[in-house]
Symmetry: C2
Subunit: 298 residues, 2 copies
Amino acid sequence: MLNEDYLRLKALVDDHLLDFLPDIDQKSITLYDSMRYSLVNGGKRIRPVLLLAACEFCDFDIRLALPYACAVEYIHTYSLIHDDLPAMDDDDLRRGEPTNHKVFGEDIAILAGDGLLSSAFEVMMKDMLLYFDNPDMLKRRVRAAYEISKGSGCRGMVSGQIADIEACGKDCSKEFLDYIHLNKTAALMISAVRAGAYIAGADNDRLIDLTNYAECIGLAFQIVDDLLDVEGDESVTGKRSGKDKELEKCTFPSIYGYTESLNRLDELTNRAIEILSPYYEEADFFISLAKDLAKRVK
Amino acid sequence: MLNEDYLRLKALVDDHLLDFLPDIDQKSITLYDSMRYSLVNGGKRIRPVLLLAACEFCDFDIRLALPYACAVEYIHTYSLIHDDLPAMDDDDLRRGEPTNHKVFGEDIAILAGDGLLSSAFEVMMKDMLLYFDNPDMLKRRVRAAYEISKGSGCRGMVSGQIADIEACGKDCSKEFLDYIHLNKTAALMISAVRAGAYIAGADNDRLIDLTNYAECIGLAFQIVDDLLDVEGDESVTGKRSGKDKELEKCTFPSIYGYTESLNRLDELTNRAIEILSPYYEEADFFISLAKDLAKRVK
């Protein structure tokens, strides 16, 4: 399904994902084991791939952006571990394997999440130290890390998760649904492309176009996720279906209905493609990605 | 008990602690409420005070270090919220008030912790943007944030918490006990003084002396905490006593006994004072602090 560029970038992330974890003392090796368990348990790696692709789109050596790409995946992974906890979505299965707390216990799972979030910032800051004799590059990296902190924190992912929880079982407006999904899902994708663009020293036009593109595919991605929860094959999605309905979550199909959700998905996909079309073949990766994401439910 | 300088620095932290939280959308206001609840619920503020005191000791305007001081307190507060969760220490009371999850529920408490940790890094990175035309100051701040990330993450606090959990109910060596407490408690205090020193542009001697001092008082602080759990008055400590024994935690009194723990506390206090004595009255604050901490169990 995914194009060759995607697989190339994903392989780079997979190959280096563990390289940037801090050296953890043998006495705390369970922390490493539990973080590693969730990190290597598959995953599409869409956020780090977006970061690297944005960096490449802005004509910069993507290997120099790897610490930031991995940091974004650490953040995404911590959010999944905490999301799966009994007090949250209470999921036993993630990507077809037992969730972190089922294997390591809730206490270790909470700390593994905390450790991954901490590691994300540690790896970015450690990377910055390498650029002390190059203030321009240093500043780009500070901006990238700031973007990632915004997208993952209280003006991004965490605020979306809170809103998601609070909307459960309630009547939810379309505006509120957009707020949830923009923050819960799109925010970190937007941060990822912006971080990649900043690291590459992108001009403002590309930065804005990538931002708008990522907003569209971030929402599209969440619609697909919501639809797969309704109609998906558990052996393909790797998680139990029907969960959203059980938790009375506020989702695209619950608010718009299935068909209208598909229409919104089409609109967002077309809009994403339209935004980057002026770049012609330079934007091939992003255009294919938008199409491929939508195909997951077609 | 605490000296005037301590109260002055603590008041500065208390006055500005909420100023550096990100602007949280009204739709996610529960996130703000729950973070705020735990932030303003008293606390000694020892970590941010140490950061500011180190900065002042190195002759720098402490107001410029406030975002980092508050970041350290956000990190400490997130660790308390997660520590108190039913899956961790299962505490109902913190500083004499219901713990975060008792008020907001476990799901919100987990996210409030995540939000505080995210905010800590967001505030530091946002601060860095202000120094883009002053590379020297920018680098000092990157170093400070890196120190804080190390002290709070997988080579610091989180690794100590994992070791603490794993040692429960087991025979624990003195070496392992030191490892737990160095990481669980001292690491973030060490990071705090180092961050303050870096921001101030301290020379290497002061950096090293402050580091060694903080290691001593960090361990001393944990011994006091362990002893108060055995002998403390709940109305003073604000939390339930006897908890460590119940959880079969590996503590100073459980390994060394009460009297020998007091002796270790004295040793560490004297060592801390000795390290900074060569600075005479310049180090008055730190010397008083070491003495005052030990007095909590005398």
